[in-house]
Amino acid sequence: MSTLIIIKIIIILVIFAITLFIAMYSTYAERKIAAVMQDRIGPNRAGPWGILQPLADGGKMFFKEDFIPAFANKKLFIIAPGIAMFTALMTSAIIPWGGSITIWGQTFDLQVADVDIGILYILGVVSIGVYGIMIGGWASNNKYSLFGAVRSSSQMISYELAMGLSILAVIMTTGSLSLKDIVEAQDGGKWNVFYQPLACLLFIVCAFAECNRAPFDLAECESELIGGYHTEYGSMKLGFFLFAEYINMFISSAIISTLFFGGYNFPFMHDLGLSSNALTIVGTLVFFAKICFFIFFFMWVRWTLPRFRYDQLMHLGWKTLIPLAVFNLMLTGGIMLLRDLF
């Protein structure tokens, strides 16, 4: 029992470190990808190829004056970035990062907690995530921040519906809410993206909206709202907001790969003749490769598509995505029913 706790603590720390590391280097990747897509070079001064840039940015953030506007609600102003960061980090607890690993005759899952209601937990935590933005925007006492906060909360609520409905189709086919079960069910190349392409598309679109990423970055709108909910923030509080956003992107990529792209499964994984432990390690690496691809995908889309107008956003969410998700749900149900009948 005590080894189990130790192993779990190690897993938690490692995941925490990896999450922060990837979020840190996502900022670098974002700038680099933005640059190469615009025929520029991007950061290349701090260290070789600029790989120390995130450290320099972090250092700068820490040394900035920690300013709180006079008319801001101090308590809420301070607590908001914390909430954003907290909820962003919480989701990583239930993602199955790999299969099981056997050490000293004991088998451990590379997962902090295999919660039975995994997906419900994700949806729950994600919907708390909006509070960080909302409280931040409200506490700033600035019209642009308030606009950003209002936009982002209504956007998140609208897209959470379509997101939940699109996940529901996956849950129906798998018959479980546990992410571990969902990944195991995709073993052997039976990835959900091939069975639920529409749900996958809807989920990815909603994930973009939930992360407040372009083309759904109306909450921030650098060009219109000068940063939206974090206009009044500076120093590491701003850093926390931006960081939380990148963590969200990382987690979203992880969830997309888990739900639709087989998680740590990869094609022909059982034909390689690897031992169980080696297979787990390779599977985890494959999982991270998938995550990195989706992070790249997020950035790729950001530097391709222009931002939606607000009415277009709501139109897309309520009149297109939700009906499509319901249609997909009914289609899935119908096919399952037919399969049971015949």
Partner: protein
Amino acid sequence: MLSNRSIKVSNKKMTFWERIYLPAIIGGMFVTFKHIFKKKATIKYPEQKRPVSDVYRGKHILKRDENGAERCTACGLCAVACPAEAISMIASERKMGEENLYREEKYASVYEINMLRCIFCGLCEEACPKEAIFLTTELVPPFLERQDFIYGKDRLVEQVDKRVDVSKRKLKHTV
């Protein structure tokens, strides 16, 4: 309608294929992806410099003749020609024994160009009858003090051991 430049706006209904946007999005993403492999436009400045023309009009130089004597006779034509009034000078008479320093009997004991006023038009070198002042490809660097931008003879006169080739700019005159 008077200008005949009004453009007819087409408000035709989008087809289903256009309305789902996905083909357009994929097309757009393909375009951005192609740009990853394109040649970058950036010039990494301190290490790499943009090539300038041979007749680029940069910082001025006061030439010496082949014996190393200053060519300038302080006639003041450059100062008169200067549209920005950036040039000022004080003329002096050459003393005995200074023949190797100054080409003719009169020379400029003080010659100053205010690089903040200068517009680098090159009229001074066009006005010069003695082929004494030329513009070079060198740039005037930034300074923190305004005073530092007033270049005196110490920074303008060509160094004997570091001759600057201005033949490219001379060619322009003869043509």
